[in-house]
Symmetry: C2
Subunit: 167 residues, 2 copies
């Protein structure tokens, strides 16, 4: 359990978000933001057949955070919550997972909608989104439930980040 | 883009699957397999509030694969598909993402259903599953579509792995 796992970015995610303040909290709360995944040239052949999928899972490195706290105050609420019960970037392994819509592929550039990561975020993986594997429409969401109901009813809720989780 | 990203396991995932042959291809094709996430003791406080969630996203290291190919034959089909259009463990960054149901938490042990990784797989992260962020019920799935339809109609389809992707 103490073995180190060494990864290397396979590309970069370009987004409109240069700093945490104002970035959407999660891609699907504000699905409108468009971005571009720029893949390393030597991996482009791996994109074959991806265009048949409407959604992708982007796996990436939260490269502008440092350290973590076991309990943290999430953006959507003013209570301390366990780190594994929130989607904060401050985690022991700062890996992000975001579902985006695929808009198109042109060479090594993959256009997507629903980005919520900072501009220049290092890409670790692209996976095809498959509802049979990845979609659980009626999942219970604990402390988030009341917050999301408020949001879905159109009431004002914080949907963009501040700088609490970043260096 | 050539910076190394160094991660460390935060626990281990215990599953009934000691070798690739016979392991379910994806957790949600065979949701029945139960497993236990054993978290590092010093991180247990981070599990606070997680019990309100019915599903989790496990992020983990495919530690028994080596290397990758840009096109690979997926389990469900005999055609070569682009690596980013399949969920094979043979990827430049061998990171797996699986949605599981949460059964219960007891100290540093998190019981889950829907595991599809090998026994002893190093855990990298636990995230709460949130349908508003993670669920897209009607996503299109390209080459997989016909295969999954066959499966959902109850016709025989390969649902367990062989050793093609492993050392």
């Amino acid at each position: 359990m103490t073995d180190k796992i060494i990864l290397e970015a396979i590309g970069t995610i370009r987004t409109p978000f240069e700093k945490p303040v104002g970035t959407p909290i999660q891609g699907l709360l504000d699905r409108k933001a468009e971005g571009t995944v720029i893949l390393r040239d030597d991996l482009v052949e791996g994109l074959k057949d991806l265009e048949g999928f409407s959604h992708l899972i982007l796996v990436y490195h939260f490269d502008r955070v440092e350290g973590f706290d076991l309990v943290q105050k999430p953006y959507l609420e003013d209570e301390d919550r366990g780190m594994f019960a929130i989607r904060s970037p401050r985690r022991p392994n700062p890996i992000g997972v975001t579902v985006v819509s695929l808009l198109g592929i042109d060479g090594n550039r993959v256009s997507v909608r629903g980005v919520d990561m900072l501009d220049g975020t290092p890409l670790l993986d692209i996976k095809p989104y498959v509802p049979d594997f990845d979609s659980v429409a009626d999942a219970r969401t604990g402390w988030l439930e009341a917050r999301l109901e408020t949001y879905n009813q159109g009431e004002p809720v914080r949907t963009t980040a501040d700088d609490r989780f970043h260096k």
